[in-house]
């Protein structure tokens, strides 16, 4: 078990490194960074000054190595626009994004589990078709559109919620719904197909033969087995949520990493962007590793393998 863990962690670190390198490459190669910082029509001396300050005239590999070395020592550089250490900035905004991610995931699961279980229990009935219909429609609607609709209905028309910002928990409600419904379909399908398979398993028949009440058979025996892959998927989806919150955070002006990233793109604030990309990929890698571990832990058969 420990060997497996160490192996996974080593792989995770390598991947994080690779991603950071890729991102670094992308950022540096997409265009002349100096011009991007200074703006079009800057004078040559200014450009030269910028290049010196940020070490942009050194070979790419050296730049990357410098950045890596600094990062490993905890120095993430300074934000060009905000003029504060990147680490400070990022740590400030990170909790918002994490909260958004977790609550959307929870919301999505709260929708997916009953839909998936109901669809499996009454397979091929109108319930199944309705659940699948809801799922298919949810998959097709763009999140930003739904976000705008939610704003129209809940904030403007009904005045129940604030339109944008991130002051209170109320500000998280609409973003959670807008992200959560979109995350629901993959879970619902997984739960549905797993439950269908599990419900026809022998041990479910044994449970029924014991005269146990239907709820116990469904939840304690069937769902308990069907849900195992969902945990793995949840970790992966959380990773995607964290990375994909850019759009929703921007729509709702929710002050998290995504919104910061979006603004940094317009400000060409590379240190910030570099760090955010690194952070998100590390988080994703950590989550997928966790999900693999969770899979092993949840299935007793794999535990001693």
């Amino acid at each position: 078990m420990t060997r497996y863990l160490l192996g996974r962690i080593a792989l995770a670190l390598m991947v994080a490194l690779a991603v950071s390198a890729l991102a670094f490459l992308v950022l540096r190669l997409s265009g002349d960074v100096a011009i991007a910082i200074a703006g079009e029509g800057a004078r040559d001396e200014d450009l030269q000054l910028i290049r010196n300050t940020y070490g942009l005239d050194r070979p790419l590999l050296v730049q990357y190595a410098t950045w890596l070395w600094q990062t490993l020592r905890g120095d993430f550089g300074s934000s060009i626009y905000f003029k504060v250490p990147v680490s400070e900035l990022v740590l400030q905004k990170l909790p918002t994004t994490i909260i958004l991610g977790l609550s959307s995931l929870t919301f999505g699961l709260l929708l997916a589990v009953p839909l998936g279980v109901a669809a499996a229990l009454w397979r091929n009935s109108w319930i199944d078709r309705l659940a699948m219909g809801i799922t298919v429609v949810a998959q097709a609607l763009p999140t930003f559109f739904v976000a705008l609709v939610l704003i129209m209905v809940l904030a403007v028309w009904a005045r129940w919620l604030p339109v944008s910002g991130s002051g209170s928990w109320l500000h998280f409600v609409m973003p959670t719904i807008a992200l959560g419904y979109y995350v629901m379909p993959p879970f619902m399908r997984l739960i549905r197909s797993n439950m269908i398979e599990v419900l026809s398993a022998d041990y479910v028949r044994t449970a029924r033969a014991k005269g146990l009440p239907a709820s116990r058979v469904i939840f304690r025996h069937a769902l308990r087995n069907a849900i195992v892959p969902v945990v793995g998927l949840a970790a992966v989806q959380l990773g995607f949520l964290l990375g994909g919150s850019v759009v929703i955070e921007s729509v709702f002006a929710l002050d998290g990493l995504g919104y910061l990233a979006f603004r940094s793109i317009s400000y060409k604030d590379f240190p910030v962007l570099q760090t955010i990309v690194l952070l998100l990929s590390v988080l994703y890698v950590a989550l997928t590793t966790l999900s693999d571990i969770a899979n092993v832990w949840l299935d007793p058969r794999l535990r001693n393998a």
């Binding site: 991947v15 991603v19 997409s30 609607l141 999140t143 559109f145 705008l148 793109i265 962007l273 990929s281």
Partner: protein, 307 residues
């Protein structure tokens, strides 16, 4: 249905139940496709959208770029203020909305097709290579896949587009280079399975060259799954492009893109909700149609391979 066979002096033989004549595989597939109602609905809807987007701009008079500041934000015809001249009304710059919608549809279709072609080629190639050659090649490609998966791709796409400058071509290239992963994963698994099958061993025994096997045996059998992934990625590409354009980092004005139309209409949303509702619902319908087709194809091929 057991036939009544009178016993006679001949040795008793078990009666075979009557078997319906077997249809050719293609007919069976078609039969099953027609029975799958969501699939047929999706197919029909998709055909309709494609038809409208392709054919109508040819004979629909209004120019999506023509501004008319005297006719700003005219509502669609079913509102009190609407007119038949602009069936779906006009936007903030007086441009006919139906024309913009249809042309935006062309943009969406073009993007999804191109992106899928690019990412599909890259992904399938890498996947087949990884699955067939195993060893170091597989290790390398798998590592590449894992790394790409770990990247926050929307963010990277935004960064690239903002640096290089956004346009239709850039969007297509960027998405094509970022969205190949699922193709690679699926084809890799499929190739591994096919490689382990007997008829590949038979081909190798006969002395067929590696490339012959890849093109002759592996690719044709991997294709159905590639097509299924292609439809799902096409829908995904449309959504991502819409999001990019919505954020201002995709297709640039005045080119109509549904995401862009929603962004442009955002400030008028409170009074003219239809300005965002129409492109939004269109996006939903197109994605729905493609997803239904993709799901239907997946069911079809899965059931077919089981026979």
């Amino acid at each position: 249905m057991a036939a009544v066979v009178p016993s006679s002096s001949t040795p008793p033989v078990a009666a075979e139940p009557a078997v319906p004549p077997t249809l050719s595989r293609r007919r069976q597939l078609w039969r099953r496709a027609c029975a799958n109602r969501p699939f047929m609905f999706g197919l029909g809807l998709l055909a309709l959208i494609v038809l409208l987007a392709l054919a109508v701009p040819l004979f629909y008079p209004h120019d999506p770029y023509a501004q008319d500041l005297t006719q700003r934000t005219v509502p669609p015809v079913w509102y009190a203020r609407g007119t038949w001249e602009h069936v779906l009304g006009t936007d903030a710059l007086g441009r006919d909305y139906l024309a913009r919608l249809l042309h935006g549809g062309r943009v969406s279709l073009l993007i999804s097709l191109s992106v899928v072609l690019i990412s599909g080629s890259i992904g399938t190639t890498l996947g087949v290579l990884a699955g067939y050659f195993s060893g170091k090649v597989d290790l390398g490609i798998t590592f590449l896949i894992t790394s790409f998966l770990a990247m926050p791709s929307i963010l990277i796409a935004l960064v690239i587009v903002s640096m290089v400058g956004s346009s239709l071509t850039v969007v297509i290239l960027v998405l094509g280079l970022l969205m190949w992963i699922r193709f690679a994963v699926v084809t890799r698994t499929a190739t591994q399975q096919i490689r382990a099958l007997d008829y590949v061993a038979a081909a190798q025994a006969v002395g067929a060259s590696r490339w012959r096997i890849v093109f002759g045996e592996v690719l044709p059998n991997v294709m159905p799954q590639v097509i299924v992934v292609a439809t799902l990625e096409a829908a995904s590409a449309i959504m991502v492009e819409a999001a990019l354009s919505f954020l201002g980092l995709g297709v640039q004005p005045p080119t109509p893109s549904w995401g862009l139309m929603i962004a442009e209409a955002r400030s008028y949303m409170f009074f003219s909700f239809w300005l965002i509702a129409i492109p939004g619902i269109s996006l939903g319908l197109l994605a729905l149609a493609i997803n239904l087709v993709g799901d239907g194809l997946r069911d079809l091929f899965a059931a077919g391979s089981r026979n």
